[in-house]
């Protein structure tokens, strides 16, 4: 029995660890199988330093034609020349000041991942491969220009409102402040809410896929106002899982955020106005 089991087991255990693994910030990452694991967080220009440990199963000989580690898609480091391994061996590695301009992203139709991949190449039999995900997040300084969003919209002789959001660019833990001013109300409004919508578009040209998700539905008003009412807006962004706005990532995809103001009347008709906002990651 053991013999059979052993035959399907990998002949060695490969593990990747980071030099500052104990101190580095970890963030959750959702894997394809739906499980969330904690992975280290990096940002662009950081050194990615660590070790690969290969441990053959008790005294078995492991023949290989070379060991390498790649930061997937980018960099390859040869860790070992072809040879044989009898006992466990540690290979330190270091990718210095790696340019990682794009953040890890886990979207509907697109994922941007950073992976360390160790390959033990072998003859005649399949290579032994081990992956280690990590996450990259990059910070943006406070924008120097950050205008408010102010607009008057309406349906003639029916509804005129003026809305104002205090900024056009919000960081991930920001709070949206503003007010909705009712200039004319001739319909019976039931309530009003503010939605945060994410628009992810992938591909290009005729093959563009656009996916829109509503991440937040935040009720701003209950009941119908009369002319002259001004309704405050205060929406904390922290509870929602937002990412920064990504514009044209490597010509592959983009992620944009919108504030959608929705008024619902008593017959459940919806009147809405959507405004793009820019979301950025502020260093904390």
């Amino acid at each position: 029995m053991n013999f059979i089991v052993g035959a399907f087991k990998p002949p060695c255990i490969v593990s990747i660890s980071f030099a500052d693994g104990r101190t580095r910030k970890q963030v959750p990452l959702k894997k394809e199988n739906g499980h969330t694991v904690m992975v280290p967080l990096f940002q662009s220009q950081e050194n990615i330093v660590g070790e690969v440990l290969i441990e053959p199963i008790h005294g078995k000989k492991l023949e290989h034609t070379g060991v390498k580690i790649e930061l997937l898609g980018q960099i390859v480091r040869e860790l070992d020349v072809p040879g044989e391994l009898y006992e466990k061996k540690t290979y330190p590695f270091e990718f210095s000041t790696v340019e990682m301009p794009y953040e890890s992203y886990n979207g509907v139709n697109v994922r941007l991942r950073y992976i360390l991949k160790v390959t033990i190449s072998r003859n005649y039999v399949s290579n032994i491969v081990e992956h280690q995900d990590f996450v990259v997040q990059n910070y943006t300084p406070l924008p120097s220009i950050n205008n408010s969003i102010k607009m008057e919209v309406g349906i003639e002789d029916c509804l005129h409102i003026e809305f104002e959001y205090n900024k056009s660019k919000y960081h991930l833990k920001d709070v949206i402040l503003g007010k909705i001013y009712f200039l004319l109300v001739r319909i019976k409004i039931k309530n009003m809410e503010l939605e945060i919508r994410r628009r992810e578009s992938t591909g290009s040209g005729p093959n563009t896929y656009v996916e829109t998700e509503t991440l937040a539905k935040f009720e701003l008003m209950d009941g119908g106002p009369v002319r002259g009412e001004s309704i405050p807006v205060r929406l904390f962004l922290s509870p929602y899982e937002l990412t920064p706005t990504y514009r044209n990532i490597n010509n592959k995809f983009s992620v944009k955020y919108y504030l959608n103001l929705v008024l619902v009347d008593e017959e459940d008709r919806r009147y809405f106005k959507q405004q793009e906002i820019t979301v950025y990651r502020l260093e904390t």
Partner: protein, 790 residues
């Protein structure tokens, strides 16, 4: 349909309560295990039950109260959380993550309360934030309850003076600002409620709104209790702001309720100092607002305030309270052309009460009020509306109650003009009230002007007013009224005889317009009042001023003669006869022979021509005899004429016993003890003998017709007359004639045919006993009686 509605509502309420309790249960579990996350989650879910639109305000309140209780527990938990190290600022943010606005704001207010207590931020900032955020609820009922919750939790945390949350500067202003803002928003929601939903349910909504009014009014109570709102602040900001809201909301229900609230909540002193502003708002209210009640309340309060201490009175003068109120009322009436008359009168009635209390010395004010009222009522004719009439009565009663003295009211020139507007029946009631007031307070009406004024007031009782029909009047009521007029006439009195005569003439002038039905009530008191004057004149020197014009008994008698004559036309001959005789007697006392003779003549004429009922005749003849007997003024001739007539009448009475009694009574006309020239024994005897003859005839007649003899009472009565004159020394009456009369009686009584009559027997027996007694006296009397054997 309606029943179903109510049933459904019960169901919804039950479902709401169940949902609330379930989530409250999970919330408690979270609280017990210090699980903030779950506590927030379940409390928000619990509060979501308040998002319902299906409940009437009444039922919604029930749900709200349950949520309220739960929120108190949550507040305790939040407080503990902050003690355990959770920052209250974080909590304040955390609760705002809730997606639904209503639960979010309830939680925000709850944490806000803890936030203020923690003093990590100035109370005013937190309050300002809360009151602003609550704008998110525009649904009237839900908004009202949410803001009511805010008001409730902030009540003890206002940064007013002396509060532990008092800030550095202008802190009261912040507290006031907060309450005012919450009030304004609540009122807007409350008013808006009226315009929601179908028009056919308008009434129902109005009722529901009425149930919610105290939620709005509570804010004014809070304002009234904020420490540090002094007069200046009240005048400069609080009142104008509140009034602005009241006026601008243009809602009848709200305006009425809130005006009332303002008046009730703030101190009277403030009202007095801000009368301009407060009253200025009144004409701006909706025309349908029941402003009269509002203003009446205000005036009543101010009047009570004035009554509370004399020290405050100068304030009233200083601010010219009366003229301001008076102007305001005028303007309100102009602004509300559809105001019912009742409202107009109520306003003036209140103003009158106000001025009577505050300025009791300013009768001109009271008259002004009445005058203004007359002006507003003019052209409206008699007021038919019952309620308005009641108010007019109240208006007119106010001065009477205040002064307890009709004399004061009589000085009010507009008083009778107001009375004009009363319908006849009410006019009478009012007149009766006036008379009762005079009676009760024993008010002396002592000048002719006042009498004139008074009769003008009570003319409804004095004469028939236009449009009254006899059959409308209840007999008893009429008697009651006229009796009170009669009593009133007795109350009119002046020690000055000249003036008194004028009063009498005036009264006479008025009562003679009263028509036959009233004269029988009003003439007698006038006659007696006049006779009283006559007696007073008698007591004085003859013609004290030597003035031709001055009052003399003669003049009065002339007047009386004419007055009584009016009665005979009524016809009320018996009453007139009595009064003539009374006058004759008075004239006798004044030694006015011709006058007395004239009165007798009048009485005789009445007797002959008008009094035909036999019983009335009997009464009349005895009155005549009695009066005539006492007359001393007549010379022989006049007296003879009158006595002759009287005896003639007596003998002509219908029934024998009546004849008999009248005739023996006439005997006294010839024997007046203290007048020597009036002792005609012979004629006395003639009378008595004649009486005996008649008695005899009566006796026979009755035995003929009834088969048994009548009573012998008449004989015994005549016996007594004999004894009287015998004792008085009439020589014509001898002991033997008495003796034979006694025997006659005894025989009659023993006769078989006589039915024994115990009364007669007793009468006779005591008469005999008297004779016996006189005998035993001895002396001259005893000697005189000696021959008589009883």
């Amino acid at each position: 349909m309606i029943a179903n509605g109510a049933e459904d509502e019960e169901k919804w309420l039950a479902a709401g309560i169940a949902g609330l309790q379930q989530n409250a249960f999970y919330m408690h579990r979270a609280l017990d295990s210090n699980n903030l996350r779950d506590a927030l989650k379940y409390s928000a879910q619990m509060l979501s039950e308040l998002r319902t639109s299906k409940l009437s305000p009444h039922k919604y309140y029930e749900l709200y109260m349950r949520a309220f209780d739960e929120l108190r527990k949550l507040e305790m938990f939040f407080k503990e959380e902050t003690r355990r190290g959770c920052s209250v600022i974080d909590l304040y943010e955390l609760v705002q993550h809730a997606g639904n606005i209503l639960p979010r704001l309830y939680l925000l207010c709850t944490v806000g309360s803890v936030y203020i207590k923690s003093k990590e931020a100035p109370a005013k900032d937190v309050l300002k934030d809360l009151v602003e955020m609550c704008r998110g609820i525009q649904h009237p009922v839900r908004g009202l309850f949410l803001r009511s919750y805010l008001s409730q939790v902030s009540r003890d945390k206002l940064p007013d003076i002396g509060s532990e949350y008092e800030g550095d500067a202008d802190t009261v202003v912040d507290a006031v600002e907060f309450v005012l803002q919450n009030f304004t928003e609540m009122n807007k929601l409350w008013v808006r409620m009226q315009y929601q939903g179908p028009a056919r349910e308008k009434e129902k909504r109005e009722k529901e709104r009425s149930e919610l009014r105290d939620l709005v009014g509570k804010n004014l109570h809070v304002l009234g209790q904020i420490e540090g709102v002094d007069l200046d602040m009240y005048k400069d900001s609080v009142l104008p702001r509140v009034l602005e809201q009241v006026v601008n909301c243009k809602d009848e229900l709200a305006q009425f309720y809130l005006m009332d609230c303002i008046i009730q909540v703030f101190p009277d002193e403030y009202h007095l100092q801000t009368l301009d502003v407060l009253l200025g708002a009144c004409p701006q209210l909706q025309p349908s607002v029941d402003i009269k009640t509002v203003l009446s309340q205000l005036m009543e309060r101010l009047a009570n305030y004035a009554a509370s201490s004399s020290e405050v009175l100068p304030e009233f003068l200083q601010v010219e309270a009366f003229s301001k109120l008076s102007n305001a009322i005028g303007k309100v009436i102009e602004a509300q052309p559809d105001m019912p008359i009742m409202g107009v009168v109520t306003l003036y009635s209140s103003l009158l009460k106000f001025t009577l209390h505050v300025h009791p010395d300013r009768l001109d004010y009271a008259d002004q009020v009445l005058g203004a009222c007359v002006k507003k009522l003019s052209g409206k004719g008699k007021i038919e509306d019952n309620k308005a009439t009641k108010q007019i009565v109240a208006l007119l009663s106010a001065p009477l109650e205040k002064y307890n003295d009709i004399v004061t009211a009589l000085k009010l020139s507009n008083y009778p003009r107001v009375m004009e507007f009363l319908d006849n029946a009410t006019n009478k009631v009012m007149a009766t009230v006036i008379i009762q007031s005079i009676m009760k307070n024993r008010t002396q009406i002592s000048t002719i002007d006042k009498v004139e004024a008074l009769f003008e007031l009570i003319k409804g009782l004095i004469k028939d007013l236009d449009g009254t029909f006899d059959d409308e009047i209840d007999e008893d009521d009429f008697k009651e009224e006229q009796n009170s007029v009669a009593r009133l006439i007795q109350m009119l009195y002046n020690d000055d005889l000249e003036e008194m005569f004028k009063i009498i003439s005036t009264v006479r002038k008025h009562i003679l317009t009263g028509g036959s039905k009233r004269l029988i009530f009003t003439v007698p008191p006038l006659v007696f009042s006049s006779l009283k004057l006559v007696r007073q004149l008698q007591g004085q020197e003859e013609n004290p001023f030597g003035d031709e014009e001055s009052t003399t008994p003669k003049k009065i008698f002339q007047l009386l003669n004419q007055t009584i004559e009016a009665l005979s036309n009524v016809p009320a001959p018996e009453l007139a006869l009595r009064l003539y005789l009374q006058c004759a007697e008075a004239a006798n006392d004044c030694e006015l022979e011709p006058v007395a003779y004239e009165f007798f003549t009048q009485a005789y004429i009445l007797y002959e021509e008008e009094i035909s009922d036999s019983k009335a005749q009997v009464t009349a003849i005895h009155l005549i005899i009695g009066t005539l007997q006492r007359m001393q003024v007549f010379g022989v001739e006049n007296r003879d004429t009158l006595t002759h007539k009287a005896t003639g009448y007596s003998a002509k009475l219908l029934k024998k016993p009546d004849q008999c009694r009248a005739v023996y009574a006439c005997s006294h006309l010839f024997w007046v003890c203290d007048q020597e020239n009036l002792k005609d024994g012979e004629r006395v005897l003639i009378c008595l003998k004649r009486a005996l003859r008649i008695a005899n005839a009566a006796q026979q007649m009755s035995s003929a017709t009834r088969g048994s003899t009548g009573s012998v009472t008449l004989f015994v009565e005549i016996l007594n007359k004999y004894l009287y004159f015998f004792e008085k020394g009439n020589a014509q009456i001898t002991s033997s004639s008495i003796q034979s009369l006694i025997e006659l009686i005894t025989t009659e009584m023993q006769s078989d045919s006589t039915t024994p009559d115990p009364a007669t027997n007793a009468f006779f027996a005591s008469t005999l006993r008297y004779i016996q007694f006189q005998k035993q006296k001895g002396g001259a009397v005893g000697e005189k009686y000696e021959p008589i054997k009883a």
